[in-house]
Amino acid sequence: MKELNFTVNGSLHSVSCHPAKTLLDVLREDLDMTASKECCGKGECGSCSVLLNGEVVCSCLVLVGQLENEEITTCEGIGLTANMDVIQESFVEEGATQCGYCTPGIIVASKAFLKNIDQVPTIDEIKTALGGNLCRCTGYTKIINAIQMAAKKELQEKGAMPAV
């Protein structure tokens, strides 16, 4: 057992656990943050995606002992039902979620991707950005539409695009 300190969604957490435990297990078991999901457990599906210092990574492949003083953002930190992010609103409006298992990971990956855009991304750009996230239900079309919708809203807010 070791005492480990790191920031999750803006607040400092101190967790006492074995250091080779994955960040995903710590989030779900020790911190009760269950948005991040385990599916493959080996980096292939993206359902466990979180932001580590702003970059999207698979939390199933990060050991908590590597995280001393690092900053993590999970889907909970992007928005909850009461204060949804533009991306989450767009997913609801577009109906881009079915069983919902992949959704938190996709929201996190989209958040990292949309941070750097200056125009509405093309379908191919979105496919590359989300290549590491699998969805078994939606067929992806609505997910892509939702991300384009969120991009438009964000650009309009920034004044980089005229409102329609």
Binding site: H18, A20, T22, G43, E55, V56, C58, L61, G131
Partner: protein
């Protein structure tokens, strides 16, 4: 060793790390991005009693030009490579290879040192490093040695790196004005997939399609990366017309010694080695003519 009993230590400097590596009491292994290490830990293949976490060693995360060579720190991530304007300009083939690694999640965590350290015959940056004449610096507490990349690997997952050594630098020769390179990969899925076959091609061009010589390195078709010497020998003999390209690609099967595994059969790999080489040379010529 149970995962719940493993320790992780985080050295603050390279020297600290070398000191830990020099001690034999614990059975340790370096972890950088962890994208190979954690997968193998979960599979029960790598179960050290202590992980030496080097991910935060800023000293080892650099890309710089020194006396006509480029030095790349082992903690440079695939994302760092993709965004490096120096590499885009002078070692574009490495940028193309890094783009093919996994998907964004793996590119953000995975490092070039880890890609070399895992020594997979399918590692995507390795063929690119072969054609860039890379040399890998290995450091131990009291010693430093430079190993040409083609002498580093001794088999799948095996290298000449000693237990008390770590990779501290990767030195490549930048591409010159008349050199053009391309990386081609075939995987089962577009993202997140390990190569079934990959190939890095670097050509030195004169005018039109006249080729002065070149290097071709195949991955995933032999126990380590291999240079296709027979194909290379044919490069400077004729202008690289589409017909000649087809002929060169046809003899690629003589160079490769693939195995059948879960990803593909040996026969398929042979055919695809030829197909990727042909496609790569063809695309390179198109790029060259547009340049």
């Amino acid at each position: 060793m149970l995962i719940s009993e493993m320790d992780i230590i985080t050295p603050q400097t390279v020297n600290d790390c070398l000191l830990i590596l020099s001690k034999k009491e614990t059975e340790h292994r370096i972890i950088a991005g962890g994208t190979d290490a954690v997968v193998r830990m979960k599979e029960g293949k790598w179960l050290p009693s202590t992980w030496i976490n080097i991910k935060g060693l800023k000293e080892l995360r650099y890309i710089k030009e020194i006396n006509g060579t480029i030095h790349i720190g082992p903690l440079i991530t695939h994302t760092d490579i993709i965004h490096s304007s120096l590499l885009q300009k002078k070692a574009n083939i490495l940028v193309e290879a890094a783009r093919e690694v996994g998907a964004i999640q793996m590119q953000n965590m995975g490092t070039i040192g880890g890609n070399i350290g895992t020594a997979s015959p399918a590692g995507d940056t390795i063929p690119a490093l072969y054609v860039l004449n890379a040399a890998v610096e290995l450091q131990s507490l009291h010693n430093k040695r430079l190993i040409p990349i083609n002498l580093l690997f001794t088999g799948p997952g095996r290298t000449v790196i000693k237990p008390n050594e770590m990779i501290t630098n990767i030195i490549i020769q930048p591409q010159t004005e008349n050199e053009i390179g391309i990386f081609q990969k075939l995987g089962p899925r577009k993202a997140q997939s390990i190569s079934i076959v990959n190939v890095a091609i670097m050509l030195s061009m004169a005018k039109d399609r006249e080729c002065l010589g070149g290097k071709i390195a195949f991955g995933s078709v032999a126990p380590t990366i291999i240079r296709a010497k027979k194909c290379e020998a044919l490069l400077p003999l004729n202008p690289l017309t589409d017909d000649i390209i087809e002929n060169i690609a046809k003899i690629a099967w003589k160079e490769v010694m693939p195995i059948t595994d879960g990803r593909a059969t040996a026969e398929y790999r042979r055919d695809m080695a030829s197909a990727l080489l042909e496609r790569g040379l063809y695309r390179l010529m198109r790029r060259w003519e547009r340049k």
